[in-house]
Symmetry: C2
């Protein structure tokens, strides 16, 4: 993995992103709307107590199935001792913060590349507050999830913060968290 | 890790959850609201292109700092080739699905334990649709994140599906995704 660099190479790589390929993707989606339709998925198996295991493998996008021959990725959800677990893995709240901060970072990098804006570094902190009164069912006034999430990013670039923030707002997971997404929950018992 | 079992042991373990400890937690939060306040966090560093790395370490909860002496957990965000990456890690959309399905699973297991409902197995599939017209800025009518997410769970239990679904609605990350959370985004450039 090469370090981010100020110079734009002959292959038109900006911020480690192949800009020619990115522009080709944009053109392809403009030319055929179906190419832009993606479906991401995962399976999960409960192990015991707080432990459950997710496998992330195939997905659909650009009119194809991907990672069909791959082993995929496997990760666990856990809980720390204060939440009655053994801390063998992050909990779901932490995983969600990982998804969100990574998505905002990647979105800045890709959209900056498309506009030929060089990004030299991004270092972020993300945190969120949860009040257990919600999850434990002790108060209907307290929500179960995060009340608020804060993302603080330090970006090494010549571009202005307002422009970087504009790029950040393209983040799909920022959209998911900051606007509601309908979740259809189908439960079958046997 | 022991397999889930129908029998409730002398230590009052239901579904692998220490029910006495869970009830103690509920009492503690009822007795002092501050004990219920948690702050989860992560740091993230952009590596190059689609690659960025999250470290999940300390958090605050039950009036204490936790994992302060731990190395913490480190995970990457990536992208597959069709999204201009090398597929070295799941992308943020997949990580979010992992967080969500794991949280719903864990919430069912904990709330079932508190009500003495035995769960023998949970196997789930989760998927979500994203239309790249949103992320690529090709249409303002198309949202950037998931349009919809589907969770299908098969739960081995004597309880009715409607009751299991009621337990699932305690999931904090289901709350985050299906209702909006304010995200404060602070960007500094240098």
């Amino acid at each position: 993995m090469s370090a981010p660099t100020e110079s734009i190479t002959a292959a038109n790589i900006v911020n480690g992103v192949n800009v020619a390929a990115l522009l080709d993707t944009i053109k392809a989606v403009q030319g055929n709307a179906e190419i832009g339709k993606f479906n991401f998925r995962a399976t999960n198996k409960w192990l015991d107590g707080e432990k459950n295991r997710t496998t992330i493998k195939d997905f659909t996008g650009a009119l194809q199935e991907h990672r069909t021959d791959s082993k995929g990725f496997t990760f666990d959800n856990g809980e720390p001792p204060v939440l009655l677990g053994t801390d063998h893995a992050p909990n779901a709240a932490e995983w969600l913060l990982h998804a969100l901060v990574g998505c905002v970072t990647g979105s800045i990098v890709y959209h900056a590349a498309a506009r030929n804006i060089v990004i030299n570094a991004i270092d972020s902190k993300i945190d969120g507050d949860i009040d257990l009164h919600g999850f434990l069912g002790l108060s209907e006034k307290v929500r179960k999830g995060f009340n608020t999430i804060r993302v603080r990013m330090r970006v090494k670039t010549k571009a202005e913060p307002a422009l970087i923030k504009e790029l950040a707002t393209f983040s799909p997971m920022l959209d998911v968290v900051s606007r509601s997404v309908p979740v259809a929950l189908d439960i079958e018992t046997y």
